[in-house]
Amino acid sequence: MPIIVRLDVMLAMRKMTSRDLAAKIGIAEQNLSLLKSGKVRGVRFNTLEAICTELECQPGDLLEFEPEED
């Protein structure tokens, strides 16, 4: 998957657990875990906004693009 999710890194830097973040932004912890592992089809802008607000970061801090090698 070319899009790498660095949410676990940001959570560690902000010393916050997935459960706390999920509760604060109002999504299920299971969905946040799926997001962390990159096993989602997409992220809504309002979810991204809520995560960036809580973790005081930019979307680029959470998402990284690594093109797949042919």
Partner: protein, 179 residues
Amino acid sequence: MLINTQSVSDAAWRLRVILGTIAVVHVVFILGLIVAAFWNPAFVGDTLGAWAGYENGERMMWQNFALVAMACVGLFMWAMMLTLAARVFGQIADGEVDEAATIARRLTLWFWAMFVLALLSPMILSVISTWHMPEGQKELSLALNSGQLSLALSALITGCMARALAVGAELWREHREVV
């Protein structure tokens, strides 16, 4: 969850209950018809014959039971279709749209089967009801009426609904994979 499906689930649940209840009523009718047929086959045969438009004389015992069998087959098919329709809405109420689509496809096949039965019934009923009549008064009828056309239309609509449910299920899966 951005989409509130509660109103759809509630409506689907109500339909499930209503259709399921009507299906049970059909089963009760079938059982009642069978009991009545054994209790007074001539009366039941005459009544069914009159409903089919053949109020003509003393039928033989097998004719009466054949008419009862025809009526039971029709009632049974309606009961099956109502049960399947109830299950479709039950699955929608439970959020299992994929399963609802599968059952709707089966319901479509039952509608087509009912359409075929509706086409053949006048012919079969006319033969059964007039078998005891003298030569020249026996009948073999064919009929095409709005009831049969309604069944064909219902089959087409149900088939389209099944496809729409399948597409809806795919969209719902995609929706759930977006956080």
